[in-house]
Subunit: 195 residues, 2 copies
């Protein structure tokens, strides 16, 4: 590397998740999302299975997504208030991406957990690319992502919705840097077993 590595590391270290209340307009433009998705593709991917892709939910499609979330809430037996809250969730974040995973169980050399590692690494790269270009983001899970109604609306056969990513511009003052001490067992030296 020609640049100061500590500077680059500090830039990555400064990233933190920004939730719905920490994100405002403007949303990252299409070229920033494309660059982020392309960095995601640079994650380690044994046998190039490409287990991940991203689906962008545009502003005009948020209402339709809200109706899907409302159907999920109804199906889960929520009351009127719960359904309304579920519908609102679709409006969260200036940008909303669905992370779609295709985890194959017919590749002996790359078991499912290794494919999930690739999906997670890809999402990490996506977040870094957004962060480095000045945008905040957060990974969101939640049970609607795993409901068949939502799965069918985003995934082909053999795929599942791994998580959501919301993104936008950091609203308000930046958060103070995390100063938490690393856990003591984060990196240890191996001792061979006695037997």
């Amino acid at each position: 590397m020609t640049a100061d590595p500590q500077h680059l590391l500090a830039a990555l270290r400064a990233r933190r998740s920004l939730g719905p209340r920490g994100l405002a307009d403007p949303a990252p433009p299409p070229e920033v999302l494309q660059q982020a998705a392309e960095l995601a593709l640079r994650a380690p991917d044994h046998l190039a299975l490409r287990p991940v892709r991203f689906v962008h939910v545009g502003r005009d499609e948020r209402t339709a997504l809200g109706e899907l979330f409302a159907r999920v809430a109804l199906d889960q037996g929520r009351d009127a208030e719960g359904v309304a809250i579920a519908r609102e969730r679709a409006l969260t974040g200036p940008t909303l991406l669905a992370v779609v995973a295709r985890i194959r169980d017919d590749v002996p050399d790359v078991p499912p957990h290794e494919q999930w590692l690739t999906v997670g690494a890809a999402v990490m790269n996506l977040l870094h690319a957004l962060h480095l270009q000045g945008y905040g983001a957060k990974v969101l899970g939640g049970s609607p992502a795993r409901h068949e109604i939502v799965r069918r609306a985003f995934c082909h056969a053999g795929e599942q919705l791994a998580c959501w990513v919301i993104a936008g511009t950091a609203a308000g003052d930046p958060l103070p840097p995390a100063t938490e001490r690393p856990p003591r067992d984060l990196l240890t030296d191996w001792t061979p077993p006695a037997d």
Copy 2:
């Protein structure tokens, strides 16, 4: 960000996996490994479950690891040559880290696949931190990592060995940058279902 974001992105994009033949001494020193592990900790981690830790296999412990690999190969019915090859594998790479995952199935808000995303994101950060400090690395899988003999030698109850990471100094000329075009479905716009 104060630095040029395209410069930072290019630095991340330039990372590529370097396998055993692409890695030479010197190995990354302890402080570089520690920084890399600490950046790994900055991966998104819903409810702070901390599903990942790293175990460094020192030079002096490679022989003992080779004996474990040989026992696995014997258990898997390999012949003498296969056992010898398995034993040799423990000597791969100037630095060898085991990535240990603890995936809980008792956290309804964070299903196992989301914990795997965190492990994958953590490994991605580890690789970036090594890369930015001038070291090459590669994720390695393989069936011995999943064998009970190896699991017991690295993991506590409820943990599993997710993968290995080898690291060192890039040997020989750097590889040309990847120029592959991204797949067309990498980032698409959502169309709500018709029904």
